[in-house]
Symmetry: C2
Subunit: 368 residues, 2 copies
């Protein structure tokens, strides 16, 4: 494919990682970047994330074959409006990276209809607690879902072209309607964040009158409130642009709380048991996508004696793999899983690990 | 202190770990155990968890200086009733290990008042996803909170004596009123479990009509629903014996959901931002106790090059420590933390690790 010029507005974790991913498979492409702060522009230039950087959004837009808006949602919509008045290349592909899609897609259709551009919504679904150009990582989107939300401005060739341009991300592509995207993410991401923050606030308030609240909070509470530490600006934008879907989840959840309250009042122990058992069953069934945020969970379990020389010898066998974690479990030997739980970044290394361990040792390896 | 006979009813994870902990500091004590299944009794005997085991609860009760009821809540209350009719040692200390306290304390006072016994409620606050005598672990309660809830049957010497008997657990002792214990745990444990199961059920139902729900669920959702995999029987007992406090948390939470819903309907972005920012601040402030459940989080971070020979050499240095996890982080080098995150079971090994690494290498070690 011929050399392209890619313009990325927003050189934070997302924009920077997109740039690195694109360059991985297309080292000949020219990557231009915009960022408001010159500190970030300098980091992006030093790290080779972009070839040229500007503090003026308009400057590089007319040079681009592809424009990626990797800025906050409101800014994305403002930039779509600005792009409508610029003299862009014919058939330029414009896309974004926003966590919600419907409002962005509606803005794109509102401002860009009738212009000689292509637009598709994008949502590369990965992130981390890190931020900024310094944190940009070519592997950030590996095996993550990269979601396209087609619009009336999406041609038949738009998505195939983008898939090729973005091939270095090594993501899994999905196409979905923008409103459906927002509904689904309200359930598995937006509403859960609201729950976490609400629980944290509730506990903090309770601690005012019940001091030991601060002290007894432990593992389960930690898990339930971890995402309350997310960046407030991003989550405020999300709730502002996905209001109806989130309101729907709130109403639905309140009914569920009422139902459990009724069971408690009725002292219906078997129904309460069913409630918890159902939750447990459903969680085991649900494929919880392995790449979302910080952790990739491609695990193997190796049934070895709890001896350090054994563990070291296994690590020697696994040199060169994308090993990210080794946990020494003291699991009940009656479980299927063995004592050593080794996590890899991807399926390929996981399978390789099993092959290599089973070829060189007598240890049994389970993939789970 | 003179040799004592300790009788533990229930030789699962909790009872078994209590036994091992007691024996650690009092190897001369005689530990008697009761368990319904002979499979578990055999494991307990083989592992040296108990010296003698019975399948008849009444058999060893009259021999005991201390009786610990480490069975499910309802069973605990039934046993308290049985104990009232047995010919026990004068001044025998009776305690339990239940996750809720008020109903157990009320049962003890109801059945044992006027008898020549001492009773105090206990709640050793640790656990894991493991179960059974096979999983019993002398370190389970190390640095965990061991909560006493005094009753009208608690003498001045009851708790001090128990603290001595239980010294091998290496727990942190706390005394609190039984009803207050139940209120606090409703907030930081019981209600969160309900939330997790409710969210899991909500998402599973939503997935019926919105298929991508199953696929887009990722890190945040995984965290929020992890505790939905808990054992349903235990959580049903908890909700059945802590109804009022949990109902209070449900009502309070619904009001918070309503408040956020109002902010969304009003499109009040700055108030929504405050909501999320408040959650984040409060979480950072709250001391989330390090020992609760599966993980001990005694971590060190070692700033090393991401080279396998380096990692292997560090592991060699740490032979003999209670190392449970090695994570190879690809953290932003500007963070304080380094690439290798090593977790130990206790503070002693963590400090030793730092000493030994700093003595033998040039690598910088951070404790965090």
């Amino acid at each position: 494919m011929s050399k392209k010029t890619i313009y990325i507005a927003g050189l934070g974790l997302i924009g920077g990682s997109l740039a690195l991913g694109i360059k991985r498979d297309h080292p000949d492409y020219e990557i231009l970047g915009y960022n408001r702060s010159d500190y970030s522009r300098n980091i992006a230039l030093e790290r080779g994330i972009v070839d040229r950087a500007t503090g003026d959004f308009k400057e590089f837009a007319p040079l681009a074959d592809v424009i990626i808006l990797a800025v906050p949602i409101k800014q994305t919509m403002a930039y779509l409006k600005e792009l409508a008045d610029l003299d862009l290349k014919d058939n330029v592909i414009i896309t974004d990276a926003g966590s919600t899609k419907r409002e962005i897609v509606e803005a794109a259709e509102r401002y860009l209809t009738g212009k000689n551009v292509q637009f598709v919504g994008s949502h590369p679904m990965a992130g981390s607690h890190k931020s900024g150009a310094i944190a940009a990582d070519v592997t950030l989107f590996e095996n993550a879902y990269y979601i396209f939300t087609p619009t009336s401005l999406t041609k038949e060739t738009t998505i195939p072209e983008l898939k090729d341009i973005l091939s270095g991300l090594k993501s899994r592509y999905v196409e979905i309607d923008a409103a459906e995207h927002d509904r689904v993410t309200s359930q598995i991401s937006h509403f859960p964040h609201l729950l976490a923050s609400g629980l944290m606030e509730q506990a903090a308030d309770y601690a005012q009158a019940h001091e030991m609240t601060n002290h007894f909070a432990a593992g389960g509470f930690r898990d339930m409130t971890r995402i309350a530490e997310s960046e407030p600006g991003m989550w405020a934008s999300i709730l502002m642009t996905n209001g109806p879907a989130v309101l729907d989840r709130i109403e639905d959840f309140k009914k569920r709380l009422d139902h459990v309250a009724d069971l408690i009042k009725a002292e219906d122990e078997s129904a309460i048991w069913e409630f918890f058992d159902n939750g447990r069953k459903k969680r085991k069934e649900m494929e919880i996508h392995k790449k979302g945020g910080v952790e990739s969970a491609f695990d193997i379990f190796v049934d070895v004696p709890d001896r350090e020389d054994v563990i070291l010898s296994i690590m020697e066998l696994l040199r060169g793999t994308s090993l990210v974690n080794i946990r020494i479990n003291e699991e009940n030997r009656e479980d299927i899983h063995g004592i050593l739980q080794i996590t890899f970044k991807n399926e390929k290394d996981r399978k390789h690990a099993r092959t290599v361990i089973e070829a060189n040792t007598d240890y049994h390896v389970v993939i789970a």
